[in-house]
Symmetry: C2
Subunit: 362 residues, 2 copies
């Protein structure tokens, strides 16, 4: 099959012919239908986080089941599925208490690295990124890494639910549990931030403040439910306090930077909760005013992919979309071919696009 | 009346004759029965936090109502009460949602500084510390700063509930909401920490790790319910991980230092919650590994006096004490007179005492 391979970090992707293994126990072979380009992929390409090479990146996808390995009963050929990197074992303490996104046995469940390579080229191992590798015509995924979905759901928009949509919505619904009538600030109006914004709208927040450096993104944020927008080129903490006469109940950091993480804490009001959704680079500390914690009972927490229970959450999100209550069409800024993938990442760097989605041939 | 007056910061207290105003609208005149010496008083004496001088310190007390001002209906002369600095208005958003310790109108409720001085000496204003000033023979407190208690409760032990006990227990019960079977670490086995420890015991935590530099405090911690103790002279984060094979579900920072606040975060396991109970000095930042927030969904929050609803909480704690389930007798390391107050604070500095309590003459 054809796949986009990352050979050097930092580096671009090359379209190459690679081989996929047969589905083993618990595995599902998918024909990839669509795969979103996510900022996290770009972070790995740029070397902000370490990853083995050569590798096939991609982790936000939907597809159709072609075959299943021994023991798989959850899906059968022809089923439509969304993939999710929050593969779970179902047996550990986090899983058994409903916190599957922080499953303690994720790596073992998703097949260990000591096994035969899932992807290879002339006998050379190619890393299966996050046990998924969506930037290829086919995928091999553990059955605990897919959720079956209704067949009337368009697969290109379903793909987005696999990572960005679930991360943004889940941070609001599952991690922070935003309440009706509360005030919310979202730092970063990209793929994750727009979903935090529409999550806050769906959850009934009364003020939803979108914060970004790019005015065109703030315009899109309004369409997704922001009641107020702030250009962060001037101190966003002061601007939030100016708008509300105080801090917010909930803030969501959807960028992954020290500065914005600290701002998300500093813009809280009494008993406010900051939720860090972005991936802060390894080794970067964030600094908090200690006394603020105690005096106003501020809180800061992380959200691992929206604290998802994706087999429960994703079908719900699809129903909301089909009812017109969740915006997905507007998230797709471009439909591209696998061959256009590097141009897609270049467009992401300009900050002008919500999301490019690779659509594979039928 | 006699009171202990702070004239210089840093400085000791002097016993002087001062005058108390008549109870105004909403105020209650108390005969002070007992007042605990709290580390926070010492912090103010040492200048770690700013406070106006001259002032009468003290904020952990119990007494008997002698008179009430206009409009007071909650208590009448002869009632036994505990004072609490978490005075609340009862009308603001935090109050109306059950979060009275972060009442938005605390200062106004407790009488503004522009009014006639509640304490004076030959016409000179003396600051009423935290609108309370327990280190005097009488006190003038807003009725929303007292809770009526059963008369069979000894007032010297009741006094401790006014601050340290409620702060430690409330952090466990109200702020963190520790669950049965969870694992808990408490940093600092002083007046607050011992109560966090016994709170964790009452809440059914299965492992309760007390952490301190002083072995004699750790011995006391065991009596209060610690299942394990760690001397923090060697890296307590590594020791906690060694003991449990992982991090804790809940940690409580009961000291108020940058280092221990950071340790409380670093010793968390997946989805763990650090609760900062100690008063981190103004201007001191605490630094967190950003990626830990997201990867393991760690959380850090502050607790303002145990997130108390003290009129609800304190009578409950008294019942637990009367049933033998809450330790208070063991918290009183010395009963002293008002004249012995400086010696009491000196003893606190050595780290050898749980709590000195001033007992006033009948």
């Amino acid at each position: 099959m054809k796949a986009a391979v990352l050979r050097d970090v930092p580096g671009e992707l090359t379209i190459e012919d690679v081989e996929l293994a047969e589905p083993g126990p618990g595995e599902v072979l998918l024909k990839t239908a669509a795969a979103g380009l996510c900022h996290s992929d770009l972070h790995f390409m740029e070397g902000k986080f370490p990853t083995p090479t050569p590798a096939v990146l991609g982790h936000e996808s939907a597809g159709v089941v072609e075959a299943v390995g021994p023991g798989v009963t959850y899906v059968q050929p022809g089923d439509h599925v969304i993939t999710c990197l929050s593969v779970y074992c179902g047996n550990c303490e986090p899983c058994l208490t409903g916190h599957l996104s922080v499953c303690a046995n994720k790596a073992e469940t998703a097949r260990g690295d000591d096994e035969a390579p899932r992807i290879s080229q002339n006998g050379e191992r190619i890393d299966q990124f996050l046990h998924m590798s969506s930037f290829g015509e086919h995928m091999l995924v553990h059955e605990h890494g897919v959720v079956k979905i209704r067949k009337d759901m368009p697969l290109d928009r379903a793909a987005l639910i696999g990572c960005g949509v679930t991360t943004g919505l889940g941070a609001v619904f599952n991690t922070a549990r935003v309440e009706v009538g509360s005030t919310v600030a979202v730092l970063g109006a990209g793929g994750i931030g727009l979903n935090a914004i529409q999550g806050a709208r769906i959850a009934g927040a009364r003020r939803i403040i979108a914060i970004d450096m790019v005015d065109t993104k703030l315009d899109i944020a309004k369409e997704f439910g922001a009641t107020d927008v702030i250009n962060a080129s001037e101190d966003p903490v002061a601007q939030v306090h100016g708008l509300l006469g105080g801090g917010v109940d909930y803030s969501f950091e959807c960028i992954g930077m020290k500065q914005t993480a600290e701002q998300s804490f500093n813009m809280l009001g009494q008993r406010g909760t900051a939720t860090v959704v972005g991936m802060i680079p390894m080794g970067v500390n964030i600094e908090l005013h200690g006394i603020m914690l105690m005096v106003q009972e501020s809180k800061i927490q992380g959200s691992n992919m929206g604290s998802n229970r994706f087999r429960v959450d994703m079908p719900r999100y699809i129903d909301l979309y089909m009812q017109g209550r969740l915006k997905l069409d507007e998230l797709v800024s471009a439909r591209i071919t696998l061959e256009e993938i590097n141009a897609g990442f270049d467009a992401m760097k300009t900050g002008e696009v919500a999301r490019s989605v690779i659509v594979f041939d039928d």
